[in-house]
């Protein structure tokens, strides 16, 4: 077999993730999305990139994993080449208004107008675009003066709604809004998130029926609406094996029986993923650790071990 020249920076999946500009970590609430986002951010910052870990939940949680106080909306340093921000999407929109209008008095009036508030609050896709736009401007050096230099943003995507609605928002907006700076920005963002060379999508799920269903659904919708696929699926909190794996093998201890059944459910879902999920899958074992730095360390180690292995080149 003839050897093909490979890009030196992308010999493992982790290398490839580290070469991106944006990593969107998506999944339903309660699947451990934040921990995975935090671990990935730490791993890619370890590859020499300057990384911003971005969350948009009004209730901050990422700082708990990093043992720092809440960021309160500012970009704060939390480690070597690692920054953290909890972004309020409406704050990004307000900033855009100020930029566009330039006049202080005028923008104050616009910002306090109920017309604007209604529009910003309810216009479809606007907040999603604001968040993605924020990341885009940071990594492309287009943000306002004084913003820190960022190579890569890891976005802990909002748990509300389907992951694909965040990613498809720019394409939808670009379809409706054809002209003007906003239309152009939407079009540019939609190309940005559709390009696997600049934006990676990492789905997080549990080995349970509904989360697995949703992950497979995400994969279908990504193909349909963005003509791309996710780069990685992380299955979190996988129960370990409890001895005899065969179905219906009851143990005389009801506790062991219960967990064996649960383990069988998980094993069935993992088998389903192996069959139906196109692309790499990483598994994280359920660990007896509370939310915090120790858990983040363990997840980082486990992900590093699974992602830092040579990958087969994907068929074109």
């Amino acid at each position: 077999m003839p050897r093909r020249a490979r890009r030196p920076r992308a010999s493992t999946l982790l290398d490839r993730l580290a070469a991106e500009e944006l990593i969107v970590v998506t999944g339903k609430g309660g699947v451990g999305k934040s921990a995975v986002a935090g671990a990935l951010a730490r791993l890619v910052s370890g590859r020499g990139r300057r990384v911003l870990l971005l969350e948009t939940d009004p209730r901050e949680s990422l700082h708990q994993y990093l043992a720092v106080p809440p960021s309160g909306g500012e970009i704060v340093a939390v480690g070597p080449r690692l920054l953290l921000q909890n972004l309020r999407p409406s704050a990004v929109l307000d900033e855009l208004v100020r930029e566009q209008l330039r006049l202080d008095a005028l923008s104050r009036r616009v910002l306090s107008s109920p017309v604007y508030r209604h529009f910003a609050d309810a216009a479809p896709g606007l907040k999603e675009i604001a968040v993605l736009g924020h990341a885009f401007r940071l990594v492309r050096g287009l943000a306002r003066r004084g913003a820190p230099r960022i190579d890569l943003v890891v976005l802990d995507a909002p748990a509300t709604g389907h992951g694909v609605s965040l990613l498809a928002a720019p394409a939808l907006a670009a379809e409706v809004i054809r002209g003007g700076p906003f239309g152009r920005m939407a079009a540019e963002l939609s190309r940005f998130v559709a390009d696997r060379g600049s934006c990676a999508i990492v789905a997080v799920a549990l080995a349970e029926e509904m989360p697995v269903e949703e992950a497979l659904d995400l994969q279908r919708m990504l193909a349909e609406r963005l003509h791309r696929q996710a780069d990685l699926l992380v299955v979190n909190e996988v129960l370990p094996s409890f001895g005899d794996e065969s179905e219906g093998s009851d143990h005389d201890d009801p506790l062991v029986s219960l967990y064996r059944r649960r383990r069988q459910l998980a094993a069935r879902q993992l088998a389903r993923l192996r069959r139906d999920w196109r692309g790499p899958v990483a598994e994280l074992a359920m660990l007896p650790l509370d939310r915090g730095p120790e858990l983040l360390d363990a997840i980082s180690d486990s992900l590093a071990a699974q992602l830092d292995r040579p990958i087969a080149p994907e068929p074109a």
Binding site: P124, R178, L255, L258
Partner: protein, 358 residues
């Protein structure tokens, strides 16, 4: 004095806590008690359809669930777009007005993506069903939201957006009746500022679509506003009970307490917390799980899971104190995928829930 058994149970909570399954089981428990019950859910999962023994036709209408209960149990899967279309059809003054809305590009995007549409449509459909009065009890499963607040704010938000004079004022003067842009604005300095911003930011095409949409929607405002007020009254009625589902984890408590406070502050009646999937406690040294190297580790994990949930439940109990009750639903060895398994969960709920609730 104990309050009347609720005729409407709204099951709320963050995503992934098992709301839908519990709502279905509550419905079954209710039918077993002899009350004709309807379960309304957004969950399109195959498993739940299996568990209830219904198919896709449940998205069109209420479908009877064969479960051997003495009363009727029916299921209805909600589809927001369908409900929105139905509303437009009902409130549009004529077929022309209706089609103008249904075929508007902005409507197309709005009905699928506007924050709160899903939630609003749930209460809309609920209201229709409640008015028809065919069921003694309706159990409503709400869409997953991170903080579970969107559901309550949705009617107000949507009405604010649709009904708002604000947007109409903003858009109307831009275009004449033929949809051409007017040469001058009559909005004054503020209007010109907004106009300049929107124009520069989104271009005129989309504004024309929006203007058209709001003009087409104008005759519907009255109906919508009235409905929103009635829906809010229904959600605050003494016969309506909210059940909050949460996980037995300490980190889930702040969200749950916050939501409970919001519900009470807004004048809603809140029932016991349903703490779902509580892992059993494993006495030290008891779980001989496997032979060999990993036995110790597995035993440690099981002990930790039981201890983690015990801690979570204890903290929640301490916080609730006199303010409310708490019902523990244990982790089951499978997720219900037929009516028999769902019946088992219904039995657990019946046993755990305070008397008079169902």
């Amino acid at each position: 004095m104990s309050p009347r058994p609720p005729s409407l149970i709204v099951v709320v909570g963050s995503g992934g806590v098992g709301k839908t399954t519990l709502a279905a089981a509550l419905g079954m428990a209710s039918a077993r008690e002899g009350d004709d019950t309807l379960v309304m859910t957004f969950d399109p999962s195959r498993r739940l359809k299996d568990a209830l023994g219904v198919g896709d036709e449940a998205a069109e209408r209420e479908v009877e669930v064969p479960c051997g209960a003495p009363a009727l149990l029916a299921a209805h899967l909600l589809d927001p777009r369908r409900t929105f279309d139905r509303l437009v059809t009902r409130y549009a003054p004529d077929a022309v007005a209706r089609d103008r809305i249904l075929h508007n590009r902005f409507y197309d995007h709005l009905s699928g993506t506007l924050a709160g549409v899903l939630e609003y449509m749930a209460v809309e459909r609920l209201f229709e069903v409640a008015r028809e009065g065919r069921y003694a009890r309706v159990v409503l499963d709400t869409p997953p939201t991170r903080q579970a607040l969107d559901f309550l704010e949705a009617p107000e938000r949507l009405i604010g957006f649709l009904d708002s004079g604000a947007l109409r004022v903003a858009l109307k003067p831009w275009f004449d009746e033929a949809g051409r842009l007017r040469p001058t604005s009559r909005l004054g300095i503020l209007g010109r500022g907004v106009e300049a911003l929107l124009d520069r930011a989104v271009g005129l095409d989309v504004l024309r679509d929006m203007a058209e949409f709001f003009r087409a929607f104008a005759p519907l405002y009255g109906g919508f506003r009235e409905r929103a007020l009635e829906v809010q009254a229904l959600l605050r009625a003494p016969e309506t009970l909210f059940l909050l589902v949460c996980m037995p984890r300490e980190e889930a408590i702040p969200d749950a307490m916050f939501f409970a406070r919001r519900l009470r502050d807004a004048g809603h009646r809140l029932g016991p917390f349903l703490v779902n999937r509580v892992h059993p406690q494993a006495p030290a040294g008891r779980a001989r799980t496997a032979d060999g190297l990993h036995a110790l580790e597995a035993a440690r994990l099981l002990a930790w899971l039981g201890e983690r949930d015990r801690r979570g439940v204890a903290s929640l109990r301490a916080l609730l104190a006199a303010r409310g009750e708490l019902v523990e639903v244990p982790l089951l060895d499978s997720e219900p995928s037929d009516t028999a398994a769902l019946g088992k969960l219904a039995g657990i709920l019946r046993e755990q829930l305070p008397a008079g609730l169902i």
